[in-house]
Assembly symmetry: C2
């Protein structure tokens, strides 16, 4: 196995994951690497889970406050949640075990905009960081760190944590070296300067993470792959959603509101997002760019085929095939991909300046264009808001996509009133389902209602939505945003009681 | 009367308001100056209202799409609404006649973030502008315009409208000349560059507005004062709210999270905002700055007393006494006040960079920290979101303030679930009522609920809120954000039915 640790003092700190984990004590705040299942520590959290379980067996309390970049994997969130090792967690998560415990009320979870986590930590709003556990791809002779498949909040965690544990994962491609751009120009207000990035591919920082070796209490060698998700080929619904969006972009080009190269794309995670990207390729778009959070297979494919010239993100989250393709042509990709801290990939200043086209999935939208990205029936969290708010609020165009129904039609994803609001009526420009696209720009609430119902709702639910809207128009005390408050959330109530939204 | 129009061609376009108004035809989109009752056109809209009324009397249709900076006055929104002359209006409004008609469903109204109106117009999302009607304080020999008491969206309106009507208001202080800073460096993406502003008082543009004289179809001379609101002296409730906030700032300074000079203040309009500013003066803060939308009497007073060194805004909205004080010491104020386009005063990039402390009023907050800034019982609009979202989302600290009850206690401003969401749980850091302050930073929804109820709710409503929360904790299907959907909006329903929220 090739040597990945080249700094003598840090070589001297190499130890087992079990030894490293003993340094973490109950009640500590532990900040970890990891973003969308990429670049999270593979060994120390597992070892920690074993120690926590042992402590619990002795009747001792042992739970942590954990902060990450975004979602990680069963070896981290899953393992720690299972042994009741997490008392508080932020920001985005997607592990089933962790999610179940949050929704049973066992774990306090705070859902934050991914672009704001770093600055909130710097501001001191999230408390002190006791330990950071960061996966890297290697350590240079001068002690700087080659970042792994995600950068996430690692710069901030390394800068601010009292102590640092480094995991050096030798199965991460050595060719990642040079792909990252870590910006060290941030400051606290009032000393902030403009961030000098004007194109998605601009390099404004350094390829490496800095760490004070004196803070490093352990270096652990690992050889574990990232949580690699397979993507299903796009289904009929996703393809139809993608086609509506591609047609819309063509229309905007025809109207002179978008150039042929569009504007930097931000695309959420998952199968619909992948289908949209495929749709852009099949639509023969060229010369595109991406300024986004995650590069998944769909985007890798667009880079390979030249549809996308440059992509900026904070994480590479690929399938096993994607990892292979990436490894085979890493030189090619390194000149086209920049991985940055999520503070930069999701930064309000840059999203606004670049004019990103934001395409994000959602749980449901209401007839007035409010969007729920996070909750089932208003009370159970799914994954969190992620970066959707960073891009929807500050970008050029904010698009939200979803199939028109869920659970085989038992749930309508277009409802009278969303059960939780993550994106307000002020931040939603376009809603798309497989049935069509609602262009909400420049419309009042009542105008939006008609176009959302007619263009996006499933035909089975359309009459019910029209009926609600027309009765609200007649009987609502105020007719700016007509609602029947006693009925507005009744679809969700009925779903909870009967398993379906329809009467 | 002093001469205010020095450009020969534009002198030749001087005509009466009645003549100017005849150029506006049914169905046109008319973009007007005006922000918080300052700098709106005083004569042409009134003349237009007369002509619209006459057309209606003849059975002709005559209604306009109107865009402004923010709220205007009875002579504009009021007069046009009264004669059914507005079919669509954006963004912020506060005229009682206009509001009543919006809420009766007679006028389509779109509520937007004030910082996004200009770019959305440039993007082409709001359609074409047929005519701009802009109040100015004077016209230079070279045709450039001395802006009036508000800059608002005037730069964008003048750049983009097909035709321009200028009102030159000679009662606006001539001393306004030199106080404005109009930034001409904006561009459309992908050609945007960093905005070179790093301190609230930085001047990055020009003191004058440009207009192509060939587009000017009329110049109208006016002599009308702005809509001058009197402020009541702060009442007991406002003083208590202000004191909680001042105490919180002192605490943050003590904890090292804020410097003595705080960070640039953004403060919404109204009596509570004024009380907070008075609280800062009485709290002997010094060396403060403001990066905000409106300078009202409270802030003028802080500038006068040296508490605030520099204030940046887009409008001066003063009482008659404030106008007098301002006029008396205009040289003093001109070196301390910068008036900018609202695109810049509310710009995501700048609000984030400067790290503004955002203090905004609200209608209600729910126990989980979602805020309603705009709607009564979910359906009737009050004024609109204004710039609160621009600052709450991107600033350093987002504070929302309200008395704990309204209508003599019939309404609780802390509710189980807000009836409309303008600021999500992700964007609300601090909630303040006269009973106390809830610091929501770093808290999960359930943690937030307890502190909001205990610190902010009126004692009469506290047991009811605790009861709701505890029952939701037991019976909610998901326990991340516990809710009883059948009951979540029942307080508002009860208010509609009985005039009070309590059973």
């Amino acid at each position: 196995m090739e040597k990945r640790i080249h700094h003598p003092y840090l070589v001297s700190k190499v130890m087992s994951a079990e030894q490293a984990a003993t340094q973490i004590r109950p009640g500590m705040t532990v900040a970890m690497s990891g973003f969308t299942g990429a670049g999270y520590p593979k060994a120390v959290p597992l070892a920690l889970a074993v120690q926590i379980e042992a402590a619990h067996a002795l009747g001792e309390k042992f739970a942590l406050r954990t902060l990450t970049g975004a979602s990680t994997a069963p070896e981290l969130d899953g393992a720690l949640a299972k042994v009741r090792g997490i008392e508080f967690r932020l920001p985005y998560q997607s592990d089933p075990e962790l999610r179940a415990r949050i929704n049973r009320g066992e774990i306090e979870y705070m859902d934050m905009h991914l672009g704001q986590v770093a600055q909130y930590t710097w501001f001191g709003f999230l408390g002190r960081l006791d330990v950071a556990i960061i996966e890297v791809a290697g350590i240079l002779p001068d002690g700087r760190l080659i970042p792994s498949t995600s950068v996430g909040n690692n710069k901030t965690w390394l800068d601010l944590a009292d102590k640092v544990i480094i995991e050096v994962n030798s199965v991460q491609p050595a060719g990642l070296d040079g792909m990252h751009d870590v910006y060290y120009g941030t400051a606290l207000p009032p000393d902030r300067e403009p961030i000098p990035l004007v194109r998605p591919g601009d390099r404004i920082g350094e390829p490496y993470l800095r760490v004070d070796p004196a803070k490093v209490i352990a270096v652990v060698e690992t050889q574990g792959p990232d949580r690699l998700s397979r993507f299903s080929p796009p289904d009929e619904t996703s393809i139809r959603i993608a086609n509506h969006l591609v047609e819309f972009f063509r229309h905007e080009i025809a109207m002179g509101r978008l150039a042929q190269q569009l504007l930097p794309l931000q695309s959420g995670v998952g199968n619909i997002a992948n289908a949209v990207l495929s749709g852009l390729r099949d639509g023969r778009f060229q010369g595109l760019t991406a300024f986004t959070e995650v590069i998944q297979d769909g985007m890798l494919d667009l880079i390979r085929t030249g549809t996308i010239l440059t992509a900026s993100a904070t994480a590479l989250s690929l399938s096993p095939e994607g990892v292979e393709e990436f490894g085979r042509n890493i030189e090619f990709y390194r000149s086209r991909i920049v991985l940055r801290p999520q503070e930069i990939s999701n930064h309000a200043e840059l999203v606004r300046r670049l004019g990103c086209i934001a395409i994000n999935g959602m749980v449901e939208a209401d007839i007035y264009g409010n969007v729920n990205s996070t909750h089932v029936a208003g009370t159970s969290i799914i994954n969190g808001i992620g970066g959707s708010g960073d891009f929807a609020r500050n970008g050029f165009l904010s698009c939200f996509v979803t199939p028109s129904t869920a659970k085989n039609g038992a749930i309508s994803c277009i409802v009278p009133m969303v059960s939780h609001v993550d994106h307000t009526e002020h931040d939603v420009a376009v809603v798309v389902t497989e049935h069509g696209l609602a262009d909400l720009r420049g419309l009042s609430p009542k105008q939006r209602a008609r176009v959302v119902i007619d263009n996006c709702a499933h035909p089975d639910y359309r009459p019910l939505l029209h009926d609600y809207f027309e009765r609200a128009l007649r009987n609502s005390p105020g007719k700016h945003t007509p609602h029947l408050l006693g009925e507005a959330l009744s679809w969700h109530e009925r779903f909870i009681e009967t398993g379906r939204m329809r009467p």
